[in-house]
């Protein structure tokens, strides 16, 4: 069962298939992912073998308007990005089937025979750029420092950006804002569930907020410790004495297994968090008689408003910030088809002070609008008028 699924559809030329495969092989090496058991790429005729629950994205090479119509429709219904790709200088509308014409695409620059940028666009859609691989490790220093450091080193070697939460916060004290933002921007939290973890670390309320924000937790349960029921929605790995070396570190076999489980849960986290926000947005646009056209490059969602006007919604799964607004604006400027950009976020689990800050940003930045997905129907219909 692959953790990350990439589909190559349409009419790629032979050299394009080969170049893309080379770039993806390089990426697999950087992240230490096995091909194809962890990272798989498939042509259209193999697409039915894909793991439907994995983080998935597709590219569609233009040229044949009748290619893979059913498959494209199926992927679009599943809210999976399908990125149309054409050579620079050719007409997008002549090369790409109707179903993908409203989707944010990609032009292959003249003379590009390496397809590095295209591979990056594809990998970005499944969270496989280095800067996207963020993992948060929460532990109690006095109980599990050695394992935390070991995890940090091993995950870093696989190109994860690891945040070690060493701050011990007393129960009842508010979770530090920046630490919270750091956490929500991760796709995965690894909790070292030691006997005194809940005595000094997070409160149950903070875990509730993290779960409501779609954060997935991998919990390592220390030997002899009855795990807390407050963390029972986590994916859990019980450890025994045999998993440890005499210096309180984990054995190579045990830590290898943990890293594998972490990668698998991370891919599920990417898939479920994106699907949740896309699903909510689809509902909202359909409430006002608009259309959800499809998801393309940079996971931008193409929406048609009732007036026929086009907007691009860029979903932010973590905490929306001024930097993200800026990034959305610059991506929208480079998009193949122009349309007004929106940043869409889910406000559940975001503190009021930050939501006020976002409102302030929204009134002062005119090139992008930031919208809560839950209010999107009302906001968009008012705006369309």
């Amino acid at each position: 069962m692959a953790f990350y699924e990439l589909l190559i559809l349409g009419k790629p030329e032979k050299w394009q298939m080969a170049a893309l495969a080379d770039r993806l092989t390089e990426a697999a090496q950087v992240f230490d992912l096995d091909v194809p058991s962890q990272l798989a790429w498939r042509s259209a005729d193999q697409a039915s073998h894909r793991e439907r629950k994995a983080a998935t994205a597709a590219v569609f090479f233009g040229g044949d308007l009748d290619a893979d119509g059913e498959l494209v429709a199926e992927l679009q219904a599943d809210e999976i990005p399908v990125i149309p790709v054409v050579a620079a200088g050719t007409s997008f509308n002549d090369q790409v089937p109707d179903a993908l014409r409203s989707t944010n695409g990609y032009f292959i620059p003249d003379g590009d025979d390496q397809l590095e940028a295209l591979a990056a666009v594809l990998l970005e859609s499944v969270g496989l750029l280095h800067e996207q691989r963020r993992v948060f490790v929460s532990y109690r220093r006095t109980e599990s420092r050695e394992v935390a450091v070991q995890l940090h080193d091993l995950l870093s070697a696989r190109n994860f950006d690891v945040f070690l939460d060493t701050h011990d916060i007393r129960p009842g004290k508010p979770f530090q804002e920046m630490l919270w933002h750091r956490l929500v921007d991760c796709d995965l939290v690894i909790v070292l569930d030691t006997p005194d973890y809940f005595g000094s670390k997070w409160t149950t309320q903070e875990f509730g907020r993290a779960l409501a924000k779609g954060i997935h937790i991998l919990r390592l349960i220390w030997p002899g410790h009855a795990p807390s029921r407050h963390l029972s929605l986590a994916d859990s790995i019980p450890l025994s004495g045999l998993d440890f070396t005499p210096d309180n570190r984990l054995t190579a076999a045990s830590i290898g297994h943990i890293v594998q489980r972490a990668e698998r849960l991370r891919s599920r986290s990417i898939a479920t968090r994106h699907l949740e926000i896309a699903g909510k947005l689809r509902l909202e646009i359909e409430r006002i008689g608009g259309r959800f056209e499809g998801i393309g490059a940079h996971r931008s969602i193409s929406l048609s408003l009732p007036s026929g006007r086009r907007v691009w919604a860029y979903p932010a799964v973590g905490i929306p910030t001024a930097d993200i607004l800026n990034d959305v604006q610059s991506k929208a400027e480079k998009a193949v088809t122009k349309g007004f950009p929106l940043l869409i976020y889910d406000h559940v689990g975001i503190r009021d002070a930050w939501l006020d800050h976002l409102k302030w940003l929204d009134t002062h930045i005119s090139a992008v609008r930031a919208l809560r997905v839950m209010d999107a129907a009302w906001e968009l219909v008012a705006w369309d008028n």
């Binding site: 439907r52 629950k53 599943d78 809210e79 149950t204 309320q205 875990f207 509730g208 907020r209 779960l211 409501a212 924000k213 779609g214 997935h216 029921r229 407050h230 963390l231 029972s232 929605l233 986590a234 994916d235 859990s236 019980p238 849960l265 599920r268 986290s269 898939a271 479920t272 968090r273 699907l275 949740e276 896309a278 699903g279 909510k280 689809r282 509902l283 909202e284 359909e286 409430r287 006002i288 008689g289 009732p306 007036s307 406000h347 559940v348 689990g349 975001i350 839950m374 129907a377 009302w378 219909v381 369309d384 008028n385």
Partner: protein
Amino acid sequence: MGQLSGSGAIFLSAGVPDPDAKHFMGEGDSAAITAAVSALLYVALGRRRLVWGGHPAITPMVWSVAEAMNVDYSGWVRLYQTLAFKDDFPEETAKFQNVVFTEAVGSDIPLSLEVMRKKMIGDTSFDVAVFIGGMAGIMEEYELIRASACPVKIIPLASTGGAALSLHQQVQADPELEEELDYVSLFHKQLEIDPNERRYRTPSEQPVEIADRITVPFSRE
């Protein structure tokens, strides 16, 4: 089964299966389980009453979603907890007036749970029962629901694995519950909740007739 009335409550039974537990019935998908609970809360809070067995990992998640949606958690949600687990209650439980405690039967956990489940399922008239992941407790709760007097729509979310998958096979439920991974849209459809149905801060503010709750975002003239 006829249309849902829109006045009955939703019963939720959810959990992540633990392969070491003796009630284990099959692997669960923890990411799907969390996503499904979150989607159910998004669709149902402020629109239907929710009842469940006070799962200590889910309860704090509901506080957070209810707060974000500005709906009254105590009014819309009722929990049942057996005093057998009283050392394990989140400390904030006491803050809310929506927990029904049931007596522990000595130190017998299975019997104490049975007492809790019977009261939980007997106290309320449910329209729907949603089963997500879970272990043998799901089957026990299903049997109690089935034996209750009112017809209850059974929604075993097979794609979350665990006992919900077995129950899906047993009752030959809708294949969509195995295939559809967009849980927000799935719950709107399965719970028959119109996306245009308003959320109300408290159940007492909610009109009886569903038609009176619908507000369509105004469209162009």
